[in-house]
């Protein structure tokens, strides 16, 4: 027990943080936002809770999943979305549009805003870290200019757009998404949704009658007819501007066969004389919010959920799981845990090596479990194998590397496994976090990729190959820095490092080779060709060849411990190019989007690797450690 104490304490700290983060997810208000956030709707081809809609939408607008509420504190996105959908007039005052580009800011012709960061933070993080937020009402007068500029920019190919043009397109997208959401539950032209429904249901028979008579050429009530026309006009606009599919409908077999926008309530009323229960419940919720009646709001949400349950009892629980996943933020917690573990490892090199290393190992194991849980959540929610896009590949590469590193630590108990697990775990989750800014990461798969068998074999195996290549590279990285700048590495440690890297490179060769060939077989199965020299295929080939080069250099005796380490570090360069660089080329079947900002980081990462390789190439007599 005593031996395990450091690990237990460290894990408890992490769990405490986990719990406090979870509690922050549901605001302490009379309105039960958490319950409303669970409401299932259909967007981007899948059923999801409003909580996810809110987070992803706000991420696309404010680049964060939270906003600053009236109390000046970070507030969950669902609070903002609720306001936007029900009281857009209030939401339009909130400065949620983050506009970084100075030229785009100039388009708005507004007085310069004070920075949201203090001078100290700006000095620390650089000028680019200043954030400027604008409200919809501030942007409103410039909407026309923005859409003109965006229109002009979108006529160009992505690669030819200037920074300003990209920023303006991004802003235009954010604005269109924003206004679509603001009209997704109600068009907002009348104050009371319930009253409107009642009036509509009362009026429908007369209106339909007038229209029918006019079509038949009979005498009709002109007043009713005109009213009908203006309602039709209003709802046509509502239909076009809304985005969410809120109303599930059931066919004869009691399966949900369709989801419709709220605007289809007009059709329901005209055809059946009344709107569905779900529409009435939504109306209750909207009116209660507008009247600031929390009790009625919560009751309305309960009624709404009962109605959704009546249509299909499986949709709410499924959305509930996704909401729980949002609340738990497993990847965020795991990332925080990896940082803690890294600090513990670094400290352990200075003091209390045993205790701190045990603490780090405990933390990393706990993080690995949380990391795994996050991946399982995603698999359950979307029903695909874990790697479906670049975002999830980042998460999975980290996951694979962490487990391999845990195995190394288990075998060698020399803190290197801990250090690499913490570094790779954190950095891949950080990369994933930045990739997630593009929106919903639980996206539906395009037809070409929609195949769980190959996703589960080729993609997983090749991603594990990436994991192992990075792991070998980072061990090499640590080895070079440690032995050049400290005297902690002796002959024996160097040999241990050598066999760690050798083992991992063998593993990497196995997985990247088999994964690449399986990819070829998938291509042959689907497209009748084994190899098409597509950038992503070539990237995979490069990793295989590089790992094979390392192995052959070792067998031929061309490279010994130091040489293998330097070669392994170059594996990081090859692997990062194959992983991200090929996507930046933007051609071929595998290209999923050009990421220019990422390009700078990629080049920076590669430059650091090459620098460490250069340091490692210095004659060993200049090194602080004598590795013999």
């Amino acid at each position: 027990m005593k031996k395990r104490l450091p690990a237990i304490i460290a894990i408890s700290v992490l769990l405490l943080y986990f719990a406090s983060n979870y509690r922050k997810q549901s605001p302490k208000t009379e309105i039960d936002y958490a319950a409303f956030g669970k409401t299932s709707i259909h967007l981007n081809g899948r059923i999801q809770p409003l909580d996810s809609v809110a987070r992803n939408a706000l991420l696309g607008i404010r680049y964060k999943r939270t906003f600053i509420g009236d109390d000046g504190k970070k507030t969950p996105a669902i609070v903002w979305l609720t306001e936007l959908m029900m009281r857009p007039d209030l939401a339009h005052e909130r400065p949620v549009f983050r506009i970084q580009d100075e030229d785009v800011q100039a388009l708005l012709k507004l007085p310069k805003k004070p920075s949201s960061r203090s001078k100290v933070m700006i000095a620390l993080l650089g000028q680019g870290s200043e954030h400027f937020y604008f409200s919809f009402n501030e942007i409103g007068p410039s909407l026309k200019v923005i859409s003109e500029q965006a229109q002009k920019a979108s006529e160009l190919e992505d690669a030819q757009r200037s920074r300003f043009q990209k920023a303006v397109i991004q802003l235009a997208r954010a604005l269109s998404n924003y206004s679509a959401l603001s009209q997704s539950l109600h068009h907002g032209q009348v104050a009371s949704f319930r009253q409107e429904l009642e009036d509509l249901e009362n009026f429908a028979p007369a209106g339909v009658d007038a229209v029918n008579r006019r079509q038949l050429g009979e005498e009709y009530d002109e007043n009713s007819f005109n009213q009908m026309m203006s309602i039709g006009f209003l709802y046509q606009g509502f239909e076009q501007s809304s985005k969410l599919l809120t109303l599930p409908s059931v066919d004869a077999n009691e399966d949900i066969n369709e989801w419709n926008k709220t605007s289809t309530l007009l059709r329901q009323v005209l055809q059946e004389g009344q709107a569905s229960e779900i529409v009435h419940s939504y109306a209750k919720v909207v009116d209660a919010y507008r009247n600031e009646n929390a009790t009625a709001f919560n009751e309305g949400v309960r009624a709404l959920h009962a109605d959704l349950n009546a249509v299909d009892p499986s949709i709410l629980p499924h959305a509930g799981v996704e909401q729980l996943f949002n609340f738990l933020e497993p990847f965020y917690i795991a990332a925080a845990g990896y940082v803690m573990a890294f600090l513990a490892v670094v400290l352990s090199w200075v003091r209390w090596p045993k205790i701190l290393n045990q603490a780090a190992f405990g933390l990393i194991c706990a993080c690995a479990i949380i990391h795994t849980a996050g991946i399982l959540f995603r698999i359950y929610i979307i029903g695909y194998a874990p790697v479906i896009n670049l975002y999830s590949s980042a998460i999975f590469v980290g996951w694979g590397a962490v487990f391999l590193a845990i195995a190394l630590e288990w075998l060698f108990k020399n803190s290197i496994g801990n250090a690499t697990a913490a570094i790779i775990g954190f950095s891949t989750l950080l990369v994933a976090h930045h990739l997630s800014a593009s929106g919903d990461t639980l996206e539906m798969l395009r037809a070409v990729l929609d195949n769980n068998f190959w996703l589960a074999t080729h993609v997983i195996i090749i991603t594990l190959g990436y994991s192992a290549t990075f792991l070998a590279g980072f061990i090499g990285f640590i080895f070079i820095l440690m032995s050049v700048f400290s005297n902690r590495v002796d002959k024996k440690t160097a040999r241990t490092f050598g066999s760690m890297v050798y083992g991992i490179v063998c593993f990497a060769t196995l997985f990247s080779f088999v994964g690449t060939i399986l990819g070829g077989i998938w291509a042959d199965q689907s497209w009748g060709r084994f190899w098409g020299w597509d950038p992503k295929e070539n990237g995979a080939l490069l990793i295989v060849v590089w790992n094979a080069i390392i192995l052959h250099c070792k067998w031929a005796g061309f490279a010994r411990t130091r040489g293998i380490m330097i070669l392994a570090i170059f594996g990081n360069v090859v692997c990062s190019w194959s992983w991200f660089g090929t996507n930046m080329l933007g051609i071929g079947l595998h290209a999923y989007g050009f990421m220019d900002e990422a390009f700078t980081y990629l080049v920076g990462f590669m430059a650091v690797q090459v620098l460490v390789m250069a340091i490692g190439s210095f004659p060993t007599r200049f090194w602080k450690s004598q590795i013999g």
Partner: protein, 383 residues
């Protein structure tokens, strides 16, 4: 002999080939941005040398070994090393399998690079087709409309004849065709005062209103090389009948010779099959409320009259039709989802990668396990 064997079996050669291959694949991939995948493959991979055209003086200088050179040296290295240097033992059985796997992989890719043919079959709903069209190669077709009321006879002259500007003649054709100009890629422009005089020689058909201006070839996926040629038709006595501008995408241009109707066109090279494919229905499903495709599928009916075969088949994503050594897979659609585009691939080497995959997988796993067991053994001894 000995120095040869020493050279070909050496680790140095293996590693050099791999490093050169790495560099080649890397620059070849980067250049895909400029040349497109097909262009880059031709320039870097399916060639013995990578050439640099010295600007201005049009001399080509080889500056890097191409995919074939590197691949063949690697192949020679692998084979000789297995014969002369490899020490056969159970402990190395995995390594042996992996290397045999790599050999079959290289051979397979060599075969595909030389023999794989890609073409597209385009069928409208309710219609049939018995041919596919090459994506890259064109041909000059002369169509004789006077054979019977029901059928035409087509004489197709391959692209090489246009490239080398050879006269096209056929014993059953009463005339011959000579080329004045051949353009692998071009843009079609309307004739006006600024039209170069070279283009004005066309005096028949579309060439009276339009002219073609040569532009560099493209290898990009979505771009088309619009092949054009100016050609003159002579009768047997050498008398000129007229000069035409033919271009990929032009409709067939009609002319009359000795009272018979003919037409000519440059079209994509066609591959005819002894069977017919009829498209019953094409569907394109999207995820609800989005434009993301869930599935494309073509319901087809295949008829092979000689074999008396007739069967229905659904071609959809990841589920191609394999028939007669050909693979038909869903590659696109057109005309508001009423036309399907099937990619037709014939690749005689397509089975080799399966063999190599098996060998490499088993070999690597065996070797990895052997290594792991001996590592565990050593650790046990130590402790």
């Amino acid at each position: 002999m000995k120095p040869f064997i020493k050279f070909f079996t050496s680790f140095e050669l293996a590693i050099s080939c791999m490093i050169l291959g790495l560099i080649l694949v890397f620059i070849g991939t980067l250049d895909q941005v400029n040349l497109g995948i097909h262009g880059a493959v031709e320039k870097y991979f399916y060639t013995f040398f990578v050439y640099w055209v010295v600007p201005g003086i049009e001399i080509t200088v080889p500056y890097f070994p191409g995919g074939y050179t590197i691949g063949l040296f690697l192949l020679a290295n692998l084979i000789t090393a297995l014969i002369f240097r490899f020490r056969y033992s159970w402990k190395k059985s995995g390594v042996l399998m992996v290397h045999i796997g790599v050999i079959t992989l290289l051979v397979g890719e060599l075969i595909s690079s030389m023999m794989q043919v890609d073409s597209a079959m385009i069928i409208d709903e309710g219609a049939s087709s018995n041919f596919s069209e090459d994506r890259q190669i064109t041909e000059l077709a002369v169509i004789d409309h006077g054979v019977s009321t029901k059928t035409d006879r087509v004489y197709a002259f391959p692209q090489e004849m246009m490239e080398t500007m050879q006269d096209c003649r056929h014993e059953e054709l009463p005339f011959k065709i000579g080329f004045n100009q051949y353009m692998p890629n071009s843009v079609i422009l309307r004739r006006d005062e600024s039209t170069p005089s070279k283009a004005l020689i066309a005096n028949q058909g579309i060439g009276l209103d339009m002219f073609a201006q040569e532009i560099p070839k493209t290898g990009k996926m979505d771009d088309v090389n619009r092949t054009s040629a100016i050609l003159t038709i002579f009768d047997d006595s050498g008398e000129v009948l007229g000069t035409w501008l033919a271009s990929l995408g032009f409709p067939p241009q009609k002319f009359t010779f000795q009272g018979k109707d003919y037409s000519l066109e440059i079209r994509r090279k066609r591959y005819y099959y002894p069977f017919d494919i009829h498209l019953n229905d094409f569907s394109h499903d999207r995820y609800l409320g989005t434009n993301i495709p869930v599935n494309f599928s073509s319901e087809i009916e295949l008829t092979h009259p000689e074999r008396g075969e007739k069967r229905e088949f659904l071609i959809y994503m990841n589920h191609p039709l394999r028939y007669n050594g050909l693979t038909f897979f869903q590659s696109g659609f057109a005309n508001d989802d009423t036309t399907t585009i099937l990619q037709v691939v014939s690749n005689p080497g397509r089975h080799l990668p399966y063999l190599s995959c098996g060998l490499i997988f088993v070999g690597l796993t065996v070797q990895f396990l052997i290594g792991l067991i001996s590592f565990a053994g050593r650790r046990e001894k130590k402790s």
